[in-house]
């Protein structure tokens, strides 16, 4: 049940300056971020993102979201709604459980999001979570595919219940959600295959 906006106000902020090359560069950043969980990549550098979206969040939306992907936008980011609808053309949905991309500033209850099925786990949602900072804050140890050895990761703003929520998500594997973390002009990712331990 997508909510088609009645009117789209052309936003005053542009999208990518070079849509092909910038989308490709952002994709390679998020690809490597998912392939090597916890590694921090630059993204959205030079992008004039609409408040309250961080440049990395805006770049990720321009790269991955289009009319084929319903998104759920957190109320805290509602001011960027027209920009997203104009540049990405994505249908906005009222139920986060119906969204392919959940765009938010705080971790939603993961069990309310699409986790896919055992036969089609790829239908699990991608959560684009905009945080205060990556690389600082509570530290975690990551293990899993993509990591030669357990690696350290830190992020500010994941919330107190994150590790427990992630274990519940990890237990669903191969079902589950994938987490794309953005802060400023940086991004990192935690695919559903990675295990997280609080330190």
């Amino acid at each position: 049940m997508s909510v088609a906006p009645a009117t789209v106000v052309p936003p005053d902020r542009p999208g990518f300056a070079d849509p092909v090359a910038d989308a490709q560069a952002t994709f390679r950043a998020v690809l490597d971020a998912l392939a090597r969980p916890g590694r921090i990549h630059p993204a959205g550098v030079g992008l004039d993102a609409p408040a309250p979206l961080a440049p990395a969040t805006a770049a990720l939306l321009l790269t991955l979201v289009d009319p084929d992907t319903p998104i759920w936008l957190a109320p805290a980011l509602a001011a960027a709604r027209d920009w997203i609808v104009f540049h990405c053309g994505a249908p906005l949905v009222a139920d986060p459980g119906a969204a392919a991309f959940v765009v938010t500033t705080e971790l939603p209850p993961l069990d309310r999001l699409a986790a896919g099925s055992d036969e089609a786990p790829e239908a699990g949602a991608s959560v684009i979570l905009q945080l205060a900072a990556l690389g600082t804050g509570p530290r975690m140890r990551l293990t899993g595919p993509g990591l030669a050895a357990p690696s350290l990761f830190a992020a500010t703003g994941l919330g107190a219940g994150f590790v427990a929520a992630w274990w519940a998500n990890r237990a669903l594997f191969p079902r589950g959600i994938d987490l794309l973390l953005c802060a400023g002009t940086e991004l990192a990712a935690l695919p559903r295959s990675v295990s997280v331990e609080a330190l």
Binding site: V20, F27, D68, E122
Partner: protein
């Protein structure tokens, strides 16, 4: 090239393929369906690999394409030219210089690095295809991790022939969860899949599936405790460079039964010869 987007595919198609690739990386070994496009060459000529390459390629990438290890065979040459024309990227035959390597049926001999991505062309992504022709049924078998049928097939090989009679496309377990086809690489290459530093992406155009093996992921070739997996290699040295480690192709040289063994990886063989290694025919 005028009239085409960078790297041939339009941006919406790239986004669709990119989303499939990201889910494939998040679920190692799982085949993600995607809306495979018609490409300007027929299915069976690497359309899956080409679509994956087109979706990841950037202007600063250096592309290498191999076909059975060789840089100079028809498939490799035409795909390399395709991307030189549609993306204007730099191409190379040197494994170490490439940032993206598209391959048909081989893994290069030189170890790959974290800075490289290996893209496989896959004719049949479903490892259970010969045992269970129904796609609906194999999807359920993957959902349940029900891979007994494949173990029975290997057991029957051993009972009848004394060994597993699979010399290429030897099935592997990825990250202990999904039975996966490594594409028709020789079983000789299977150990290189295990914990490879490079990201490995697999594209099947006709079958419309993408899957991935992230870096440093456990990949185990199926076997039994008393019949461990043994990669096979012809018991010979390369006639050109003398290598006794590389994978060899047997080449018929005349009508009188003459034959020679040469490295299947042409770049590996050429670099060894450049470094002074010599085989009997050099």
């Amino acid at each position: 090239m005028n009239g085409y987007n960078f790297a041939y595919l339009d941006e919406q198609t790239k986004r669709m393929i990119r989303r499939a690739i990201l889910k494939a990386v998040a679920i190692p070994g799982h085949q993600v369906p995607f809306a495979s496009r018609e490409m300007p060459l027929p299915y069976g000529w690497g359309t899956g690999g080409i679509q994956v390459t087109a979706s990841i390629l950037g202007r600063e990438d250096v592309l290498k394409v191999i076909d059975q290890g060789a840089d100079d065979t028809t498939n490799a040459v035409s795909i390399r030219r395709f991307f030189a024309a549609t993306a204007g990227v730099q191409t190379t035959t040197r494994t170490a210089d490439a940032s993206v390597i598209q391959t048909r049926h081989r893994i290069p001999e030189a170890p790959l690095t974290e800075q490289q991505i290996l893209v496989y062309q896959v004719p049949q992504p479903e490892p259970l295809y010969r045992l269970e022709p129904s796609r609906a049924e194999t999807t359920r078998m993957h959902a349940l991790a029900e891979y007994g049928a494949m173990h029975v097939k290997l057991y029957e090989d051993i009972a009848r022939l004394g060994q597993v009679a699979i010399s290429y496309d030897y099935p592997v377990m990825v990250n202990g969860r999904y039975l996966t086809s490594p594409s028709p690489i020789p079983a000789f290459d299977n150990p290189k899949l295990h914990r490879m530093p490079a990201l490995q992406l697999f594209g099947a155009g006709r079958e419309k599936r993408i899957y991935a093996i992230p870096p440093y992921t456990d990949v185990r070739s199926l076997d039994f405790e008393d019949h461990p997996f043994r990669p096979h290699r012809a018991d010979a040295a390369c006639a050109l460079c003398g290598s006794r480690q590389s994978y060899l192709d047997e080449v018929v040289t005349d009508n009188r039964g003459g034959r020679m063994f040469v490295c299947s990886d042409t770049d590996h063989c050429a670099s060894r010869r450049a470094a002074g290694c010599e085989g009997v025919a050099a």
